[in-house]
């Protein structure tokens, strides 16, 4: 066959089912086009409604723009696996880890980080079933896998967690249904899946992903299903959450105790120095930040250190993830018995049982001896050395430097100027800490134990190696010291002494180099060396400003900062703290000045500028002569700018000349004799500045503008990261180690890797204040909340116990509430640290009393220092004496002072007579009051007032990682102490029995009656009688008519009577007849029935017989 290959053409069906279907589809598709009338607007109202609906839907998509601070290399996503116990969380993590890394971890302790893709890493955490841990996880999780045991159904923990999520910023949530293999019936399984899905959707959102894991194989879920899940995990899209994108935070994946073992030996409950490792998320951190560790409290970071990423994303762009890049980092889980550290890899070589009791060799013995923390100090204490020649040898214990016990290792070796400053001491201590901590960590790492080796050289080298901070400078210092030792006349024979001195020298950093040296010769060397490492650099402004930190911060007058071209005189030279200075110099070069004005700018665009500087006097003069001519143009331009700018500025003063100036240009283009080119250029410049605004504004709507602005800020910050590199910032996405001192020992003692440790930054959120919140009891919580009960509130990073005061504003005042409303929001005030208004919170009781734990949710309204919450108070008093409308009331107040406070207050009696407090009479609290009417002695007088209640300032951070001490509610205390609820007889509700009062009729004496005016006289009201109201005299005709009518009436009455009687008789007859008939019929029926049943009975009997 040559030429083109031909195929049989496709024949389109013109008849039959498929052709019909296509036709219908085609019609549908083009219906609007083919039949526009049918789709025309039929009703304007309907169209308007539809348009509105669409607009509303569109509007719903908008969110308040938020800066997306995700760094270019983002930190691993935190994937939290949450669910009640026994529903397959661990299995799920294991399966996913296996899917990503082909590793099986036996036990999951703490976060597990894996590289899941070319640009993505995941950190899996398993959430323990504890409300505190759940709260913390809800605050940091980027993606939540909610595992649900399908064989059991939804459990409350799931809903509690969802509520926690909602209040702390909703991350992505995916559901995972497990234990589906328990369903044998396929139909039922389907139904269950459907039900779960819909219930899950109502809780999260319609269409939320729910995965079904149908079984376990080899201790993992089925590979196919896990792969499916992992694909959805890898494409998950995250929206920035407000709280997290404005705070730095870290999920610690490794915790280490750096405390000096020596210290611990002395006091095992001493505060610890703890290092926490993890990826930094959210915003940046800087050294010595204040942080909050939920469950442990507020701390100051001692140091923040950048470490190499232990689980890096492959740096090279590759098509697919290489097998060797599929890393896993789970330092607390001990993957394959390997643990990573900053500078070492620890391999856990497990000893066999037979080896445990084996005899240790000499080397091993020595190593284990070295591991003991107090080895150095003990040995040093035991050693003796001479301070001075021919002096009594002293032991290290006898030497007291600062009185502190930890300083025993730093005897003042040198006489004379050898005593070093305090700072040095501290540094020494720090170094010691590090060293000994290291030696404690690295079991058997012989290089680390500094004091252990007797040999000088080895010891010194190991020291320098250990001391991270010491650089070449230290080395030099050491040599200097060594030389100084040779020169000095002190006969130091002892090796230990030598060693101690060296320790001293090494610890001294380069700044205090000159302080710590001993001799003159030494000083000389130091002086010669000093400029090499100190002064050789150009004067750095940062040093000028921040250089001498100690002097600057204390505000004392010892700042050594030097003045430079950019900094004026030093801060301490000023006499008073006024911003203004009146100093000025007269000798500024005019030419130099011109550069700062637009008049000068126009003349020299860039190049000319330099020319002007280089040029000689003549040129300058020439230019000045030209200046007069050119100024005109410049003026015009400046005015032109003025005019348009001042229109847009509200604050600027408007120049009266402006309006004229701006118009002139357009009309007379060549007024200044400019070439057309120049004019065109100017025109385009003008257009760009002012005209293009309208087009640009149309293109970008407000929303887009805001978004762009925010993005601009983020981009700027990204660009500035390098610039700010020398200021110790730690950026999001970096793997950092943070060190915290003064951590209570319980943190380490009770440390459980399963409980997440979160470190959250708290910029400006530390001051305590009253926080006004809007709160609503959770609709699933079975009780309403009672005032005075301590409640745990989780807001921001914090969880704290506090006593809310509930109230409601009635548009005039804040009225206190004893209980929260049942289905409504109310306000409350709690005492706690500042929280950004608008932040959501969630409240629960420490002691779970009900199946659903979350007691209330709400949001923060305001931080304030005082809130006026009132409750109603009614004071009662009794009249003592009554004179007309005045009464003396007692028993309301106890002293005249109290009365004075209420002078002018309005009072009221029970009967409703209103009055006013006038003045105290006597000192017993009796007061004179006037009323609008005379009151009775039996009346009770009320004073209604409002009493401002004091707000209980109780703030108790829940230290769940340490040990929890919490306030109990009164009910709890009563229960615990078996106390009865106080029972006031007065407070009981009893049925009210009111006597019916009988009043005697009012009798008015006749004499008085006579005197009364008619209006007030009691009237005799006659009761009506049968007697005709008036006599009627009838005429003859009337009489006849009346008689006739009477007769007719009589007749009709009689007729009616007869008819009624007849009807009665007929009815009786009929009833009689009916009854007879009935009886007859009844008898007949009975007979018939009888016959039927008889026959039936016979039949049955006959049947049975058959």
């Amino acid at each position: 066959m040559d030429g083109k290959q031909t195929h049989k053409a496709h024949r389109v069906h013109k008849a039959g089912a498929s052709a019909k279907k296509k036709l219908v589809e085609k019609k549908k598709k083009n219906a609007e086009k083919n039949n526009p009338k049918a789709f025309a607007i039929q009703s304007a109202q309907k169209a308007e409604r539809m348009a509105r609906r669409k607009a509303e839907l569109d509007e719903k998509k908008y969110h308040v723009p938020m800066a997306d601070r995700t760094p270019t290399i983002p930190p691993p996503l935190v994937v939290a696996v949450v669910g009640p116990p026994q529903c397959g969380k661990t299995t799920l993590i294991k399966s996913l880890v296996r899917r990503y890394t082909k590793h099986t971890i036996s036990e999951i302790r703490g976060p597990v980080t894996v590289v899941s893709g070319k640009k993505q890493r995941l950190t899996f955490i398993e959430c323990p079933n504890d409300i505190n841990a759940m709260t913390d996880v809800a605050k940091i999780a980027d993606l939540v896998l909610l595992t649900i045991d399908a064989s059991y159904g939804f459990e409350m923990e799931t809903f509690e967690f969802l509520n926690l999520l909602q209040t702390h910023g909703m991350p992505k949530v995916m559901g995972v249904l497990t234990h589906l293999d328990d369903f044998k019936d396929n139909k039922k399984l389907k139904l269950v899946k459907k039900n779960f899905k819909h219930r899950f959707w109502t809780e999260v959102y319609d269409g939320a992903k729910l995965f079904f894991l149908s079984g376990v194989e080899n201790g993992r879920y089925l590979d196919r299903e896990i792969m499916n899940l992992s694909r959805f995990v890898s494409v998950v899209k995250l929206r920035p959450l407000a709280w997290r994108s404005s705070h730095p935070y870290m999920l610690a994946d490794r915790v280490q105790d750096l405390t000096d073992p020596e210290l611990l030996e002395m006091n095992p409950k001493a505060n610890r120095t703890v290092a926490l490792y993890g990826y930094l998320r959210g915003t940046h951190m800087k050294g010595r930040d204040r942080v909050h560790i939920p469950g442990a409290g507020d701390y100051q970071l001692d140091q923040t250190e950048l470490l190499a990423d232990p689980c890096p994303i492959p740096d090279k762009e590759r098509k697919r993830l290489d097998e060797r890049h599929k890393l896993m980092y789970a330092p607390m889980s001990e993957v394959n018995g390997v643990m990573y550290d900053k500078d070492a890899v620890y391999i856990d070589v497990r000893k066999g049982k037979h080896e445990v009791n084996a005899e240790e060799g000499e080397g091993e013995k020595m190593l284990s001896e070295l591991q003991k923390a107090n080895a150095v100090s003990e040995r040093l204490a035991a050693q003796q050395f001479n301070l001075f020649s021919r002096a009594k040898p002293v032991t290290a214990d006898e030497i007291v430097v600062g009185g502190s016990s930890t300083r025993t290792r730093r005897p003042a070796v040198f006489d004379g100027n050898g005593i070093s400053g305090d700072e040095e001491d501290e540094e020494q201590d720090d170094d010691d800490d590090d060293d000994s901590a290291d030696s404690g960590d690295s079991d058997g790492d012989s290089d680390d134990s500094d004091g252990g080796s007797e040999d000088d050289d080895v010891g010194s080298e190991s020291n320098t190696a250990n001391n991270n901070g010491s650089s070449a400078v230290d080395y030099r210092a050491q040599r200097i010291a060594a030389r100084a030792m040779e020169d000095s006349d002190s006969d130091n024979d002892s090796d230990d002494d030598d060693l101690l001195q060296r320790v001293d020298n090494i610890s001294s950093s380069d700044e205090d180099l000159d302080d710590s040296e001993a001799d003159n010769a030494e000083d000389e060397i130091v002086e010669r060396l000093a400029p090499i490492h100190l002064g050789a650099k150009r004067v750095n402004l940062m040093d000028v400003v921040y250089g001498d930190a100690s002097a600057a911060t204390k505000g004392s007058s010892k700042s050594k900062a030097k003045t430079s071209a950019f900094g004026g005189a030093d801060a301490d030279d000023v006499d008073e703290d006024n911003v203004k200075s009146l100093a000025f110099t007269d000798d500024i070069d005019d030419r130099q000045l011109y550069r700062y004005f637009i008049t000068g700018a126009d003349r020299s665009d860039g190049e000319d500028d330099e020319e002007e500087e280089d040029g000689d006097e003549k040129e300058a003069e020439a230019e000045e002569t030209m200046g007069d001519f050119k100024d005109l143009e410049a003026e015009a331009e400046c005015e032109e700018e003025d005019g348009s700018k001042s229109g847009s500025e509200s604050g600027g003063e408007s120049d009266p000349d402006d309006a004229d100036g701006s118009d002139d240009d357009g009309k007379e283009p060549n007024r200044f004799g400019l070439s057309d080119d120049k004019m065109k250029k100017l025109k385009s410049k003008f257009d760009k500045l002012y005209d293009s605004d309208e087009d640009g504004a149309d293109k970008k709507d407000f929303y887009q503008q805001q978004k762009d602005e925010l993005q601009g800020y983020v981009d700027n910050t990204r660009q500035a990261m390098e610039e700010l590199a020398d200021i110790n910032y730690r950026w999001s996405g970096e793997y950092v180690k943070i060190v915290i001192e003064d951590m209570p020992y319980e943190f380490i003692d009770r440390f459980d890797p399963a409980t997440p440790v979160v470190v959250g930054g708290i910029p400006n959120e530390e001051g305590l204040s009253l926080i006004s919140i809007r709160i609503k009891r959770h609709r699933w919580y079975p009780r309403i909340l009672k005032a005075g009960d301590p409640i745990v509130i989780s807001v921001g990073w914090r969880r704290f116990q506090t006593i809310p005061t509930y109230f409601m504003n009635d548009r005039i005042k804040n009225r206190m509430l004893k209980y929260t409303p049942e289905h409504m929001h109310c306000s409350a005030v709690v005492y706690g640290p500042f929280v950004q208004p608008g932040t959501g919170f969630c409240a629960y009781f420490l002691k779970r009393a009900h199946s659903f734990g979350i007691a209330a949710t709400g949001s923060v309204l305001e931080n304030t220092q005082s809130v006026d919450i009132v409750k109603k108070v009614k004071l009662t008093g009794f009249p003592d004496k009554i004179h007309k409308n005045t009464a003396y009331v007692n028993k309301m107040f106890n002293s005249s002072l109290e009365v004075a406070k209420f002078e002018g207050a309005s009072i009221k009696t029970v009967s409703g007579i209103r009055g006013q407090v006038k003045k105290a009479s006597g000192d017993s609290g009796t007061f004179r009051a006037t009323f609008e009417d005379r009151i009775k002695m039996s009346d009770i007088v009320f004073l209604r007032a409002f009493h401002t209640i004091p707000i209980k300032k109780f703030y108790n951070p829940i230290t769940s990682l340490l040990s929890v001490t919490a306030m109990r509610s009164i009910a709890d205390i009563r229960r615990a102490k078996n106390l009865a609820v106080p029972n006031k007889a007065d407070s009981h509700y009893k049925p009210i029995t009111r006597e019916v009062k009988r009043f005697n009729p009012l009798r008015i004496p006749k004499s008085l009656q006579a005197e009364l005016p008619f209006k007030s006289k009691p009237k005799v009201v006659k009761t009506s009688t049968n007697a005709p109201s008036r006599a009627v005299v009838m005429s003859k005709h009337d009489k006849r008519v009346a008689t006739l009518l009477g007769q007719i009436n009589l007749l009709s009455k009689d007729k009616g009577k007869k008819m009624r009687e007849k009807a009665q008789k007929q009815k009786e007859e009929y009833t009689k007849r009916r009854m007879a008939e009935e009886a007859e019929a009844d008898a007949r029926r009975r007979k018939k029935r009888k016959t039927f049943f008889r026959i039936e009975g016979q039949n049955q009997r006959g049947g049975s017989r058959d």
Binding site: D298, G568, Y596, F597, E723, E741
Partner: protein, 360 residues
């Protein structure tokens, strides 16, 4: 749990900024050794007035002044704003107190309306004119624009004062990050020549002299003469000039001079103009008397980078930077630009938000 430690300072210098920073950062501050060796040790009357003013502007602040008055402890409360009225002693001008309010007012609970009585201008503090025409205008760089107002109802010259100003400032949730490095070229000069209880001609003479000095550089100069009469002119005679140069990018350079007894109006005008030229040569986007404001607002910005250019660092600013670091733990990146003899200041904002402001 480690407690937040008190920041401690020595000496009476920079008292105001430390108190202000303490309130903004919510960190307690203790200032000791306030003029211990002075004949009259302890706080001066204007410092006590400042403490009173701060107490009025805040809620929950606790000031503890020692027996001798040589040490002050401030436990800051929250800024409230609202109506404040204050009689300021004549030892310092109103500008001294206004500077503190300018830093605090935008972060209060409600709009601040402060009425201050005292001296409106002298040669140690910023005059109210400069604050009105430059300081408050500088607010707009940080997103505070509408509702800022300073009304000079009465002028009061030293020594007796008798002036009155009304300062109004809205509250904001947070300020905008600043990115202002282009100082531009000076495009116009505005000014106010004021005179109280002297011949109205004085103001014209000042203007004449100042124009004579400045006209060489730019023609767009407009100096208002502001002569107060009668009850509005305070208790003492006085006159002076406040100048503001505005650049094409909106940078404001200020200079001002107030006459001392016996000064000729011409001298005042000329010297003020020369001071303005000096200020212009210093360069930067904020002049030397507003460096502190720019830096403070940059620190109070959100966690984005803020950048600006300023001229030579004044000693005041250097101390301000140190104090900022002490209170906010924020270090500025200070990069000199040898070409223009200016300095670029870069910092990351502290993420400060006005927690006192209510949500709606």
């Amino acid at each position: 749990m480690s407690k937040r430690d008190t920041v401690q300072f020595e000496g009476h210098k920079f008292l105001k900024q430390r108190l202000v920073l303490s309130i903004l950062s919510q960190r307690p501050v203790r200032i000791i050794k306030i003029r211990p060796d002075d004949e009259n040790p302890g706080l001066r009357d204007y410092e006590i007035t400042l403490l009173r003013l701060l107490e009025k502007a805040t809620n929950g602040s606790k000031f503890e002044i020692s027996h001798t008055g040589t040490s002050v402890l401030l436990r800051p409360g929250m800024i409230t704003g609202g109506r404040i009225e204050m009689e300021c002693p004549v030892s310092r001008a109103i500008g001294y107190y206004l500077e503190a309010l300018v830093a605090l007012a935008p972060f209060g609970k409600e709009q601040m309306t402060a009425v201050l009585h005292g001296i409106t201008m002298n040669n140690t503090d910023l005059s109210v004119d400069t604050i009105r025409t430059a300081t408050l205008v500088n607010y707009r760089n940080f997103g505070i624009e509408e509702g800022v107002e300073l009304k000079i109802t009465k002028r009061g010259a030293p020594p007796k004062g008798g002036g009155e100003v009304r300062f109004m400032c809205p509250v904001v949730r947070s300020v905008k990050p600043l990115n202002f490095v282009d100082q531009g070229k000076i495009r116009r000069i505005r000014g106010i020549a004021y005179a109280t209880r002297v011949s109205p001609q004085t103001a014209n003479r000042i203007v004449e002299a100042a124009r004579g000095e400045l006209n060489r550089f730019i023609p767009d100069i407009y100096i208002y003469t502001d002569v107060y009469k009668g009850a509005e002119s305070g208790l003492s005679p006085g006159f002076g000039l406040s100048l503001v140069a505005e650049s094409t990018t909106g940078a404001l350079m200020t200079a001002e001079l107030c006459a001392n007894p016996g000064d000729a109006p011409e001298d005042v005008g000329r010297d003020a103009a020369k001071m303005l030229l000096n200020e212009i040569v210093r360069g930067g986007c904020f002049d030397s008397s507003h460096q502190w404001m720019a830096l403070l607002m940059m620190v109070l910005g959100p966690e984005h980078v803020s950048r600006t250019r300023i001229g030579k660092l004044t000693p005041f600013t250097i101390q301000y930077l140190r104090d900022i670091r002490e209170f906010f733990n924020i270090t500025f990146k200070i990069k000199p630009d040898p070409e223009t003899n200016t300095i670029t200041m870069t910092c990351l904002g502290s993420g400060f938000t006005n927690v006192g402001k209510k949500t709606t």
